[in-house]
């Protein structure tokens, strides 16, 4: 293969999740080096690009959609991404962030910023995005091309799925991981 063959443009995104999926992604360890021969990381919390590129081949999206900012981001990501993967249970099901849904955002903010605070109790309203009424999975907002459940999906799952995708094979996700894995 010549050096000029264009690499897959890979992005990873961190919305309302704990970053555990990104940690698990990094847990591929030395296998990341092997895979990186085939991709360029064009946007990610792991690197320093500030703007989502115009044309991304594969995006791994961690986290649920919880705020107006998440919603704006996911729309932009979808627009500029060929193949969007919902990475981990938060992106796939809402998972732990969605545990606030039965109570609503007001009750949660009240609990976090007023009831449990002794000094300057106030709900943040400047520079932070407003919370959506309900935390929802990514596919309720945009089309998702592949679902990778797991909390987090294991490094082996990432390796198998990305190797398969880069080789233009379709991975059998249900045999690799599950909700809560």
């Amino acid at each position: 293969m010549s050096e000029t063959v264009s690499k897959i443009k890979l992005a990873t995104v961190w919305l309302d999740g704990c970053s555990g999926c990104h940690m698990s992604f990094l847990d591929m360890d030395e296998r990341l080096l092997e895979l990186s021969a085939q991709f360029d990381l064009v946007y990610s919390p792991l690197v320093d690009f500030k703007v989502y590129p115009e044309a991304v081949d594969v995006a791994l999206v961690e986290g649920a959609i919880s705020s107006v900012e998440d919603e704006r981001k996911i729309q932009a990501i979808r627009k500029h991404t060929k193949f969007l993967i919902a990475m981990g249970d938060c992106a796939v099901t809402g998972n732990v962030p969605s545990m606030r849904n039965p109570f609503g955002p007001e009750a949660v903010l009240e609990r976090a910023y007023r009831q449990n605070v002794t000094a300057q109790a106030q709900i943040p309203c400047v520079l932070v995005p407003a919370l959506l009424e309900k935390v929802r999975p990514v596919h309720e907002f945009v089309k998702v091309d592949m679902y990778l459940p797991g909390c987090p999906p294991s490094a082996d799952t990432f390796y198998t799925v990305l190797s398969d995708l880069f080789a233009e094979r379709t991975p059998d996700v249900a045999s690799l991981t599950r909700f809560g894995a």
């Binding site: 545990m99 039965p102 249900a174």
Partner: protein, 237 residues
Amino acid sequence: MSAPVDVKTLVIDGVNVSGRAGQTVLEVARENNISIPTLCHLDGLSEVGACRMCLVEVKNSPKLFPSCVLKVEEGMEVTTASDRLKHYRQTILELFFAERNHICSVCVANGHCELQSAARSQGLTHVRLPYRNPLLDVDASHERFVLDHNRCILCTRCVRVCAEIEGAHVWDIMSRGIDSMLIADLHQPWGESSCTRCGKCVQVCPTGALSDKSKLGSDHPKYPEFLPYLNMMREGQ
């Protein structure tokens, strides 16, 4: 002199099999190593046909039948796996997940849950239906056990084991449809009910709805296999 055994011959997934009259398609299929997924069925308890996971196709009928309550008949031709059945089974599982708050990652039954493993075996990687996210109670009033309505799929295994095996009939289902709710006695806190504290309901619960208080995280395997054994020993007496 014993009565002659009434044998029925039928075809399941193209295999010629036979069963006794009165046996269910599910029983005969499993005797012949043909697997049919189930959730509300449990060896040792009566059948209710509630969960619909075990639906099968029967030749010359447009209807689907729950195999756990479908009695074998002579000449019956049964199909246990098809695209149509897969579609229905996946949709049933999606309805379970969307109905209440099944947060697998923080559930006491994570890794030991029959709903979770059914989702995996049916190839379910996401839920297409919007989640309802109802506000539900957790009853921790019992000294030894916890009832978490968020994880309950209303399979009624606990109701049946308590009534049929323990003979206490503490559990029952209140209301109907989407409002259905598991209750102890006449809707009392579990800890103040007539519970005998035997723990059978916890062992037969397929999800994290009933759990042992001494268990933390996902360290909660359950052992429902005791039931057929217990029944066998009682019959032997």
